[in-house]
Symmetry: C2
Subunit: 332 residues, 2 copies
């Protein structure tokens, strides 16, 4: 029994001839090692848990897909949970994953503040990496440089001749939304002293984008550009504009964030920020494995750079000509 175990898990050297005999017999019998028993003995399940705030937001499926792929390469499996944007559910899920003896946790928290307790609890018992959204400044985090990304958008819009801006965003309880908002404010005020008065905070949904755009329409005159904290907000806004026969980009430019499918599917196609989802995922998995390997490691945070993707929705007649771009992910 011991010998078979050593052969199959490759942990210890076994006489090659005997090893071969074991291999052959195992195959003939269709034997597969029982991972539950192994997990119990080794105290490691080769499984990691992931909690995302909402799979309905197309950014997260992309992340999940990339994470799952990265994990598979190192033969880990993924226990996935959707918190439904609810902090209480999120806390429950973390506890549940903990009970499942996952080796580590990847979490994109619902709320910068309200999720702290759950995150801290989890981090005290498990290697934990925050991905995209964060609650704990001193714990490991993998995300993108939001300020730089927003800066690129505003630079581009300025280049297109835009001088007044409105901003559609979720409530800044979401860390990424908060960072983007900060960046927007500090950059936009330089171009437009009134930008601060045209912030529309709701959530990350299509609906909120739609509703916020209606409010912008009511508060005419229109700004030169409506900057949105994600693609869902942006396509929602464009829908409302279309319903009111306001043409994008002629009457107003619109930009998104994430470069999801929506950005290409909408008419006009959306200028947005492409998040480096693959890198995000592989960096998170790498960091998590490192933390699992040595739990005493200090927290490590990584900020990746995201790139601007220019499409139709921001190309104004007066601006410099820029060739539109197709995408996302080389989809076109």
């Amino acid at each position: 029994m011991a010998t078979v175990s050593r052969v199959l898990s490759g942990s210890h050297s076994v006489n090659p001839e005997l090893a071969a005999r074991v291999e052959v017999t195992a195959r003939r019998l269709g034997y597969r090692t029982n991972r539950v028993a192994r997990a119990l003995r080794r105290q490691a399940t080769q499984t990691i848990g992931m909690v995302v705030p909402d799979l309905t937001n197309p950014f997260f499926p992309a992340v999940v897909q990339a994470v799952e792929g990265a994990l598979r390469e190192v033969s880990f499996s993924l226990l996935l949970c959707d918190a439904g944007n609810d902090v209480a559910v999120e806390a429950e899920l973390v506890r549940n994953l903990f009970d499942h003896q996952v080796d580590g946790l990847l979490i994109s928290v619902c709320d910068r503040i309200a999720s702290r307790q759950a995150a801290r609890l989890a981090a005290s018992r498990l290697p934990l990496i925050q991905i995209d959204r964060r609650a704990l400044g001193r714990m490991s985090y993998v995300g993108v440089d939001q300020a730089h990304a927003i800066g690129q958008i505003l630079d581009h819009l300025a280049q297109q001749g835009c001088r007044s801006f409105a901003y559609i965003t979720p409530h800044p309880a979401i860390s990424t939304a908060s960072e983007r908002l900060e960046a927007f404010l500090s950059r936009a005020r330089a171009l437009d002293p009134d930008a601060g008065s045209r912030i529309y905070a709701g959530d990350f949904s299509f609906d909120w984008g739609h509703e916020a755009a209606l409010r912008i329409l009511r508060a005419r005159p229109l700004p030169d550009a409506i900057v949105c904290a994600n693609d869902l907000n942006a396509v929602g806004a464009m829908q409302a504009l279309r319903e009111h026969h306001v043409q994008v980009p002629r009457d107003v430019a619109v930009t998104g964030f994430d470069d999801t499918l929506l950005a290409v599917a909408s008419g006009p196609q959306l200028t947005t920020i492409r998040q480096p989802v693959q890198e995000l995922a592989s960096e998170a998995v790498t960091a998590l494995r490192a933390a699992i390997g040595d739990p005493s490691l200090p927290p490590r945070s990584t900020e990746l750079q995201a790139g601007l993707v220019v499409r139709e929705s921001s190309l104004r007649a007066g601006g410099d000509r820029v060739r539109p771009h197709r995408g996302p992910d080389g989809a076109q």
Copy 2:
């Protein structure tokens, strides 16, 4: 030890006073039962595996979300795998899930034929439910009545005055695509003898929709309507039409299938079929639990009805007036 186990798993009656003492102490100590050990002993992990062909297609995140919610209600967890539309990967994933000792498997197979072997292998060792896409006629399946759904689309289009049709679809190796195609052919031919010659088969992507529409444009005259096998195809097609200044629905009607976010986000909004995702998920979970409870149960298949959602993309000037519809999922 035995008493504690009995109290915490509630399996056997224990003197209430003693039970209370156990509960209190357990809480004080922060004791949580180790699910790996329990799984080893009980030979049941309370975990089910799910394999989807591609999380990039927004239909699947919706299903995954619903399934995860339904499972959580009965305190099961979800081990999620994305096959990336690759039958070999899919087979590997099934084996891996099997090794993980999942109690059951939910699978939406990549290929009607090529996935059969993997599905059969899995079904021989585990309770298995096919969801949405299927490979094995005699194994349990939960999906929608594709013929009825396509019928509703064609009835609606006919009512709008459409008499000639083109059809954009993935290669019929995907079971749902194949069923939709069959339904399209049998229904459309009654209205348009040439419908059979305007079938454009590729895959379920935005890109294919785009490419197929270009081909349709090259083969003028345009049909009255372009029916698409899913929303991705449809928005891809609409994008191509827009690029060529063909107006939807004025010059040609377009319809989708799935009622994903894309349907509302596109301009014009898309007439499509709403899949009953919640029901699909809860039915699948119910069926799976039944099969886990009694593996000798005969396979059971369920066909749910999907409903037509009329929006702008199919409303032609000549047709009867129908009020457009918002959505999806009450999103508006």
